[in-house]
């Protein structure tokens, strides 16, 4: 019997790759392995569930069983791969070896956890998958005051969602502005104004040092000496690509698992896709690069080696109180921000020396200009001439 294509991970990367590949290959056996329950869901919607009043079961779109049927695949849930063994073209689940024809690492990124002193660490919730979301929703039922650690994209999306869902939200982050590294100050200010208009309170500069149970909920001690009370805490301080098993197996790892434009790791027949993968130095934790990768890799696995390329990839941030679309300039891009602002409608353009558009941030009503601007943006990962041989030149 032919060894299956094995995909580790059933998030957007794993399932969308499986779907794209099954459109081309109906015959080769397919095995998906996941440490969670294998439900199919859209991760970006996790930060929209309170406003839309959707619990975890509603956000889950299909069970592992339904997905197995749809994809003509075997799906092993609640199963942790313990070792990769690329030299022998197999993986290990405990002491059970599983052979593969091709292996795809699509196991995503994990939430960064910062150590917090005190006796209430169990009240700190990362929300990085549907099971996390379900746990947080259960804990939040009947509660009111949520403290959010981090004022990045995810922290701000959760703030907007929780406020719209009837909760109070305070955010603590050690930065001078929200979404540092992603937004110029004027755009950050506009979104912060919008969230404050909904009732959000920001504590920018300090970090949470200590969390303790008190008489009226939890007492949060910040590093600037202030104390806040809250009922539970969301941790949204960042994500780190999962790389441990890959590194242990000798695969090249930098920030993510290093892959080439075919999404192949440093070992043949082992590929990586999505949040865990680093393509030409880019580890982008967004849906659009993941989908571009899934479509290219599906063809490659079908025997038609296809380089992945990314067009312009603006990111829509789900802060409906002040809509935000941002296309961050590439690392190393040289230029300057030019900002036009009218209230919370900000049009910030990052222009190179020759006036070429290299990035933008649009807030409020200015987001309507994004499609026109997208046409002027350089691609994030330019197309390569597709080659006919598997060998990469040079």
């Amino acid at each position: 019997m032919t060894a299956p294509v094995v995909i580790i991970g059933t998030g957007l990367a794993g399932y969308n790759l499986a779907r794209e590949w099954r459109k081309l290959d109906r015959d080769t056996p397919l095995l998906l392995i996941t440490a969670d329950d294998g439900r199919s869901y859209s991760k970006p919607l996790l930060s929209t569930g309170f406003a839309a009043n959707k619990d975890a079961d509603t956000l889950g779109m299909a069970s592992a069983g339904a997905m197995a049927e749809q994809l003509d695949a075997e799906i092993r849930t609640h199963t942790r791969v313990t070792r990769l063994d690329p030299a022998n073209r197999r993986i290990w689940i405990g002491n059970e070896p599983v052979a593969y024809r091709d292996l795809v690492l699509a196991w995503g990124a994990q939430a960064v956890r910062v150590p917090v002193a005190g006796d209430a660490e169990e009240a700190i919730f990362p929300i990085n998958d549907l099971l996390d979301y379900g746990r947080f929703r259960a804990a939040a039922a009947g509660k009111r005051r949520v403290l959010i650690l981090g004022a990045g994209l995810i922290g701000c999306e959760f703030a907007n969602d929780l406020l719209q869902g009837g909760y109070e939200a305070e955010l603590v982050a050690p930065s001078q502005q929200i979404m540092p590294g992603l937004l110029p100050a004027e755009a950050a200010r506009a979104v912060q104004n919008g969230l404050e208009g909904l009732g959000a309170r920001f504590h920018l500069g300090p970090v949470l040092e200590r969390l303790e149970h008190g008489a009226d909920g939890l007492v949060a001690q910040l590093s600037d000496g202030s104390r806040l009370t809250c009922d539970l805490v969301v941790s949204a301080v960042g994500l780190r690509p999962r790389t441990e098993l890959a590194a242990e197996a000798g695969l090249q790892v930098e920030r993510g698992v290093v892959v080439d434009r075919l999404l192949q790791t440093s070992h043949p027949h082992v590929y990586a896709l999505g949040d865990c993968a680093e393509v030409e130095g880019l580890n982008l934790l967004y849906v659009m690069p993941l989908m571009a990768g899934a479509r290219a890799l599906a063809k490659t696995l079908f025997g038609n080696p296809t380089f992945v390329s990314y067009g312009p990839m603006p990111v829509t941030v789900k802060t409906p109180v002040c809509p935000l679309v941002v296309s961050p300039p590439a690392r190393g891009a040289v230029g300057n921000w030019t900002v036009e602002a009218c209230g919370n409608d900000v049009k910030a353009l990052y222009l190179g020396a020759d006036g070429q558009l290299l990035g933008y941030a649009l807030t409020g009503a200015a987001v309507q200009q994004r499609l026109a601007l997208n046409k002027q943006l350089p691609p994030v990962l330019a197309e390569l001439p597709q080659i006919l041989s598997l060998k990469t030149p040079g």
Partner: protein, 55 residues
């Protein structure tokens, strides 16, 4: 007028607003959006959208 949401990334197409920048006039019903139209946020096709309640 209805709203349609991309089940992959959460992008919302609002029939009332259309997408004038892409030549889709305000008020364009979902069934009249071209079949080859793709989600501006993630690149999937129309079949990966579902109708959502008007908020």
């Amino acid at each position: 007028m209805k709203k349609w949401q991309c089940v992959v990334c959460g992008y919302i197409y609002d029939e009332a607003q259309g997408l004038p920048e892409e030549g889709i006039a305000p008020g364009t019903r979902w069934e009249d959006v071209p079949e080859d139209w793709i989600c501006p946020d993630c690149g999937v096709g129309k079949m990966d959208f579902e109708m959502i309640a008007i908020s």
